[in-house]
């Protein structure tokens, strides 16, 4: 499914998890800065998305995808994202406005970049990963 196709359901789940009116949630909304999400909400959100879309979202998947092929040392030093790491984040979280990618961004501040679209992308990616795995398993069985 595409981002556009999953957006309505993701939006509904986010509004339910964060207890905000759906009208307040747009695809560009940042979960922490705009919608007031807290760390427990992310656990709740991932659980709800997994159940709704029948996917598995491994812990830290977003950071792992954003990091791409960068090693730990290339991505961050002393808990602060490097310039190289920041470029990787900007590329991955292309839906997030530039102003939020501040210099000396801490690794534990990466969730401040997450938007509703981020989770739509995550859902579609995990759906595709699940489809590929099912296809591989079917071939193996055949």
């Amino acid at each position: 499914m595409s981002v556009e196709a999953v957006y309505p359901k993701v939006r509904h789940i986010i509004s339910d998890v964060l207890m905000v009116d759906e009208e307040e949630v747009s695809i560009e909304s940042r979960l922490i800065g705009d919608l007031g999400a807290e760390s427990i909400d992310f656990l709740d959100l991932v659980f709800q998305l997994e159940r709704e879309f029948k996917i598995k979202i491994p812990r830290g998947q977003l950071e792992k995808d954003a990091r791409g092929s960068l090693s730990d040392d290339e991505f961050e030093k002393g808990g602060v994202v490097t310039d190289q790491g920041l470029s990787a984040l900007k590329q991955y979280f292309s839906e997030t406005a530039d102003e939020h990618f501040k210099a000396n961004l801490k690794v534990n501040e990466i969730p401040t970049l997450f938007t509703v679209q981020t989770f739509c992308k995550l859902v579609t990616k995990q759906q595709q990963a699940g489809d590929v795995e099912q296809g591989t398993n079917s071939e193996a069985v055949a």
Partner: protein
């Protein structure tokens, strides 16, 4: 006093159902009166027992370096009361666990009949020593495995424990469309010593019990010939710890109402910061 609601563990491997028991004795400190005036084990604490059962197994799997704390619960069904003399057979299933969180579901049975279920529970995993010293918790665990844990007993000075069960002692608004109430966490409350020794915090389940009471007060006030009973708790989320001397402000609103069911939504804050939300379903 202790805030432990598992008396013995009989199966602790986390890839199988975790099994244990809790005996409800006449000396159980947390006996309350139900709507019919009968003395029963506080229903919310049956959920606490199920959670603690899973927690023991998960803590053991981390060599007692980490412990889960209350986080999110999708659904709790309260099917029957539990009376002194009965034995709770507890069963918890770990659906997933890693360094950050545990997911589980479980149930409690009395004489083979399910009386309480917990579904879709998630608990963040935090460093053990923030809450309790490793040696102390390991000693408690050994007692559960050996079956040598002493049964719950009311302390001889129980009469002094007027602050045992927290309640919303101040009503700021009590209208049909909105109830606003305050609960002050008494720093001398006896349950705080064990929950937890290094970081005393209000147990989520005692807060839920206070909310159940508030909802019953609402029903007795605004529903003629009230016969509604608590059936389900859902969408429970604890966002922050509530510590001694915190003043917790809670709003209660009716989310929906039919002839046979009424659903309340609760939101609790400390200094305008969300700490706990839940819904409660009452049925005839």
């Amino acid at each position: 006093m202790t805030f432990l609601f598992v008396d013995a563990l009989t199966q602790t491997a986390i890839d199988k159902p975790i099994v244990g028991v809790k005996r409800i004795t006449e000396g159980e400190p947390f006996l309350i009166e139900n709507a019919a005036g009968e003395r029963v084990f506080m229903p919310a604490l049956v959920g606490e027992a199920i959670g603690q059962l899973g927690a023991w197994a998960v803590m053991a799997s981390t060599d007692f370096c980490k412990r889960p704390v209350a986080g999110v619960v999708a659904n709790v069904a309260m099917l029957a009361d539990v009376y002194p003399g009965q034995v709770l057979q507890l069963e918890t299933h770990i659906d997933g666990v890693d360094n950050e969180a545990v997911e589980y579901h479980g149930r409690a049975m009395v004489e083979g009949q399910t009386i309480f279920t917990v579904d879709g529970a998630i608990g963040p995993m935090l460093r053990m020593t923030t809450f309790i010293d490793k040696v102390e918790v390991m000693t408690q665990y050994q007692a559960l495995i050996n079956g040598s844990r002493p049964l719950s007993r009311c302390p001889s000075d129980m009469g002094a424990y007027t602050n045992l069960v927290p309640s919303f002692d101040k009503l700021l608004s009590f209208q049909k469309d909105l109830v606003v109430a305050e609960l002050l966490v008494d720093e001398h409350a006896p349950y705080l010593n064990d929950h937890f020794p290094n970081k005393p915090v209000l147990p989520l389940t005692l807060l839920l019990n206070a909310k159940l009471d508030l909802a019953m007060n609402y029903l007795n006030e605004f529903v003629a010939h009230n016969v509604f009973k608590p059936a389900m708790l859902r969408k429970i989320k604890m966002s922050q710890f509530v510590v001694p001397n915190d003043c917790l402000t809670t709003t209660l609103k009716v989310k929906s109402q039919t002839a046979d069911e009424i659903v309340f939504v609760f939101k609790s804050e400390v200094e305008s910061k969300r700490v706990c939300v839940c819904e409660m379903v009452f049925r005839r």
